[in-house]
């Protein structure tokens, strides 16, 4: 292996070095500083005689005398089932004081695209125990469903609740452990405090045993954040598609990941895209998010729950925007609901699960699920609209019909969405609460629900009761 002392330029996270032998694109590089520190990096561009290298740990301490070694291979993740229960840093090195990792295989972290022909369409209902998700935005095995949040909102509580409660109901009595998820947790630039929150919960519930944790914290190098999720997803794919696990991958915070991309782009003096983020950010994010799914003929699955904090709570910001264009829906956390004390403060209106339709219904969840969800959406949206009007004209100026929709919207938030982080509701519970609320509305208003289903589930007395109290 050839060693060079030919660094010509150091700029932000980038180092340029002259070479006299060809170096492969994306290859791994080791740089040794004069103080004897070894830093790792990756080839970003390779031309005859010159390579540019992106250094993961930051370029502090590198000077012209640093030596550069090209390892002749692209970055690999050593994988084994024994990774379960381990805590690693953002570059994949153990930091839990445990034994060295003896890998079964070393897998390229870039990951090859799953052949669309080889995929199996995800349609197994995951019960998260959270009504706003299960009832209205159902998650299925193999889906990528991000949480769109804002700074200071309880997205971590929700992610942990999902990780704790997620099961696939029919398998519950079946083969032991079959419905339990292995959890891969990939942290990018989160605070020590947040990291503790996750670790303590994993330890408290015993989830750590079936988890692999990758930690890149706020004070860890930013460029390392671009490899952390790839290490996490490579591990996830191995456990899912080689070892048959159903894997739940939680990645947080994608916003920090994108900031790192922007930093590298700026250092390379690339033409920036929207708001300074690289023009290829869509492709880059897709290469993470598309590593979720099911594969025909393989046992396991990779389900992704990436978390991102929307700068300025703005979902048209490039990070949530590009994410939404790639993922199969989104769960949106709402600041107003949070200040109202709704736990979890999920706003169902902008939320969506695109894989819901095939994962629910007769034989999967319940025959009325789709219709109930549609109707609740329509009714809640109508109630929400009316709230603006009430502020202007007052409740008395509204018709009886309108007042019912207003009440519906209130109860929807306070009884359906509100449940706390420790309550685990079955899908039956969720749908029954749904019918409690829908029965406040006159039957004829339920135009999204099949007549036979109304017959079966509508509570005749409910409407009258509410009417009586409203008078």
């Amino acid at each position: 292996m050839k060693e060079y002392q030919t660094i010509t330029e150091v700029s932000g996270p980038l180092v340029f070095a002259e070479v006299d032998e060809p170096v492969g694109y994306d290859e791994i590089v080791e740089i040794e500083t004069p103080e004897g520190r070894t830093l790792r990096g990756q080839v970003l561009e390779s031309s005859e005689g010159l390579v540019s290298i992106q250094v993961f740990e930051g370029t502090g301490g590198i000077d012209r005398n640093a030596s550069v070694r090209f390892l002749g291979e692209t970055m690999k993740m050593p994988v084994t089932e024994d990774l379960l229960g381990r805590v690693l840093d953002g570059s994949g090195n153990p930091i839990d004081g445990g034994p060295d990792i003896v890998p079964d295989e070393r897998i390229d972290i870039v990951g090859e695209a799953i052949n669309p022909y080889s995929r199996e369409y995800p349609e197994e209902f995951i019960q998260t125990g959270v009504s706003a998700i299960d009832g209205m935005n159902t998650l299925v095995r193999g889906q990528k469903l991000p949480i769109f949040s804002g700074s200071g909102l309880p997205h971590n509580e929700l992610a942990l609740q999902i990780a704790r409660q997620a099961t696939v109901p029919e398998e519950e009595e079946g083969d032991e452990g079959g419905s339990e998820f292995a959890v891969i947790f990939g942290a990018m630039g989160i605070t020590q405090e947040e990291a503790n929150e996750f670790m303590q919960d994993f330890e408290r519930t015993g989830a750590l045993e079936r988890s692999v944790v990758f930690m890149n914290l706020a004070d860890d190098p930013a460029v390392e954040r671009t490899v952390t999720p790839r290490l996490a997803l490579t591990t996830a794919e191995y456990l899912a598609f080689e070892k048959g696990y159903h894997v739940l991958v939680i990645l947080t915070d994608i916003t920090n990941y994108c900031e790192a991309l922007r930093e590298i782009g700026a250092a390379r003096e690339e033409v920036p895209g929207r708001r300074g983020y690289p023009g290829y950010m869509y492709t880059d994010l897709a290469q993470l998010y598309e590593r979720a799914g099911r594969i025909e003929g393989r046992e396991g699955s990779v389900t992704q729950i990436p978390i991102l904090t929307m700068p300025g709570d703005d979902d048209t910001h490039p990070i949530p925007d590009l994410t939404g264009y790639i993922t199969e829906g989104q769960i949106v956390m709402d600041r107003d609901l949070n200040s109202q004390g709704i736990e979890p403060p999920i706003n169902v209106l902008p939320s969506l699960s695109r894989l819901m339709d095939d994962g629910i219904g007769e034989g999967l969840t319940r025959a009325d699920h789709g219709d109930v969800s549609d109707q609740m959406y329509a009714a809640y949206a109508e109630g929400e609209d009316l709230r603006d009007l009430v502020n202007i004209v007052g409740r008395e100026a509204l018709s009886e019909r309108d007042n019912k929709f207003l009440d519906f919207a209130d109860r929807f938030e306070n009884e359906f969405a509100q449940q706390g982080y420790e309550t685990n509701r079955t899908i039956e519970d969720t749908l029954e609460i749904g019918w409690d609320l829908l029965s406040m509305l006159p039957k004829e208003e339920l135009n999204r629900i099949g007549e036979d289903l109304i017959e079966e589930h509508y509570r005749e007395d409910e409407g009258e009761q509410v009417e009586a109290t409203a008078d």
Partner: protein, 585 residues
């Protein structure tokens, strides 16, 4: 992708690798030649030549590839294989069949350096001549037929770049695609296989004004914003607003002969859904499985970006080939924005001068070249065929003022504007009825008059007027509440609500509602108009609005869409409406 003939020219050497863009020296190549890059022979295409430097976009991942590795030129432009076997197939962006790749690579993941022809060269097809020996045939002429799938007969044509002549031998029988099925006195041999460079439109005679709608079975499209067979349409909308579902609905139910569905830079699972669903769905026209008229091209968001750039061309070339046979072809491209972004990405790696928002200056030209390949054509063999193009557009932040949406709107004649607000309240399809338009309306009206109902345009205009009026009234309602409006306006709001909820809304996932025959579309509208007319008469006779709205039969308007025996259902509903409303006065 077409199996390039191995006439290897002078090899070049890689000088620089930057993601999907590779620069080579000493390569003897023309623009758009297909080359094999590096020791693994990754497929690429020449996109720039400058002195001794040749720039190549590579259709596969380039990690590990380095300077010094060889580049080999095939001397052929990027082409597709055309012939029987393209229907019921699923390709990547350079026409490699994904099922063949799975088999060859032996894994569910896309490996590198594996090539595969676009059609099966071993498979034997049943050829039946339609011309006789001694007949004279020219370029494009049909000389025989192959039953390709349950619903489609493949026409075997003299390639457009042939000279043509007298048929000296032709015979029915079983042939593979590269065995000659006919010989001409010009010395030319005709096989069932043609190759065509994707960036070049296949020749046709004249473009004509289309007068027949591409019936979609979607009420808001057929009813308000129809597209013509041979027309162009754009569906822009923010994420989650319904672009893909609308495209899938068109791919399922549009009355085209052939559907080419291009998944350009979108989700893997959406393609899987098509592969799993379509074989089980029936074409409402032929009763045959939908897949047998469908060709899929899937270059998902995580597949190489250069192949995303080319997949649009691969798709449109295949569409043109079926057009040449005299078929009506519909091409859906989901999403043209990803295609534009792929151009931008490549262009920025070439360090070209960026235009608006970093897109290359030739963005507008590329978009219009693509949409220009749509149309109703007089083919060179005298048949008439059409290519309709429906492109999804994914504007950043849902803002339609961005370059891809704007440049597209300058070209296409149908605009289906998706609306995040409607999508949030689950009003689907969430096509905004005030912003959308179709410039084909007038030229299609005669067809609707003749084939659906004489007063189709008038009834449609009535609906448009009511919806417009509702829009204006809603602004007042926002300020003072509904009850402050005069009774007739309250009634208009009630009628408009049924137009929106019972007619414009259509559930793509409901077995019955998913497809709506234009006759049903008309009758549903007519039923709401019956309610309107009866109600206004009652109002005039002094019946209060509330009483009218409370009539038992009225909410049944909402059940029309899901009614299977819709003729009977609507007959009964209309007579109940009349009777019950009239009984109020």
């Amino acid at each position: 992708m077409s199996q390039a003939i191995e006439t290897v020219d002078e090899d070049g050497v890689i000088e620089r690798v930057s993601g999907p863009v590779v620069t080579a020296t000493d390569l003897d190549a023309r623009m758009n030649d297909v080359v094999y890059v590096g020791n693994e022979g990754l497929m690429g295409e020449v996109i720039e030549i400058e002195g001794n430097l040749t720039t190549i976009q590579v259709y596969e991942e380039t990690s590990g590839v380095g300077p010094g590795e060889p580049v080999e030129n095939t001397g052929e432009p990027l082409s597709v294989d055309l012939g029987p076997g393209m229907l019921n197939a699923i390709y990547d962006g350079v026409q490699r069949p994904l099922d063949v790749l799975e088999e060859k690579m032996g894994t569910a993941f896309l490996d590198r350096g594996v090539d595969a022809p676009g059609i099966d060269f071993e498979k034997v097809w049943e050829f039946e001549p339609t011309v006789d020996e001694g007949d004279s045939v020219g370029p494009g002429d049909v000389i025989g037929e192959v039953p390709e799938t349950a619903s489609i007969t493949h026409k075997v044509m003299v390639p457009p770049n042939y000279e043509g002549g007298e048929v000296t031998s032709i015979e029915a029988g079983e042939f593979t695609v590269d065995e000659p099925v006919a010989e001409l006195d010009s010395g030319e041999e005709v096989t069932m296989h043609q190759e065509w460079p994707v960036r070049e439109a296949r020749p046709a005679n004249e473009k004509e004004t289309p007068t027949i709608p591409l019936v979609s079975g979607q009420r808001i499209l057929d009813g308000l914003f129809p597209i013509a067979k041979g027309g162009t349409a754009a569906i822009p909308g923010p994420f989650g607003s319904g672009k893909t579902v609308t495209q899938h609905q068109l791919a399922k139910w549009a009355d085209a002969d052939i559907v080419v569905y291009v998944g350009c830079g979108e989700r893997g699972n959406e393609m899987t859904e098509v592969i799993e669903d379509f074989p089980e769905l029936e074409d409402p026209k032929t009763g045959k499985p939908l897949m047998s008229r469908t060709c899929l091209i899937a270059n998902t968001s995580n597949m190489p970006v250069a192949a995303r750039e080319s997949c649009i061309y691969t798709g449109i070339t295949i569409a043109e080939y079926f057009r040449d046979m005299g078929y009506d072809v519909a091409l859906m491209a989901d999403s043209t924005s990803r295609w534009a972004e792929a151009m931008r990405e490549i262009s920025s790696r070439l360090e070209e001068m960026p235009g608006e928002e970093g897109y290359p200056a030739y963005l507008a030209a590329s978009l219009s070249e693509f949409y220009e390949r749509a149309g109703l054509f007089q083919n060179i063999n005298g048949t008439q065929g059409s290519v309709s193009v429906i492109g999804a557009v994914s504007p950043p932040g849902g803002d339609f003022s961005e370059p891809v949406t704007q440049n597209t709107l300058r070209i296409v004649k149908t605009f289906w504007a998706l609306d995040a607000d409607l999508a949030e309240r689950r009003h689907f399809p969430s096509i905004n009825w005030t912003e959308s338009y179709s410039l084909y309306r007038q030229q299609l009206d005669p067809w609707f008059r003749e084939n659906v109902e004489e007063d189709w345009p008038e009834v449609r205009q009535w609906a448009v007027d009511v919806l417009d009026e509702e829009g204006e009234l809603q602004e007042i309602v926002q300020l003072v509440g509904k009850d402050a409006l005069p009774e007739d306006q309250q009634l208009t709001l009630e009628v408009a609500r049924y137009l929106r909820e019972a007619w414009l809304q259509q559930n793509a996932f409901h077995d019955v509602d998913t497809y709506c025959d234009p006759k049903k579309t008309y009758r549903m509208l007519r039923a709401i108009k019956t309610f309107n007319d009866e109600a206004f008469e009652a109002l005039e006779a002094g019946v209060p609005v509330e009483e009218i709205a409370d009539v038992d039969a009225v909410p049944r308007l909402n059940r029309m869409g899901t009614a299977e025996e819709w003729n009977e259902f609507i007959d009964e509903l209309e007579s109940d409406l009349e009777e019950q409303i009239r009984s109020l006065y």
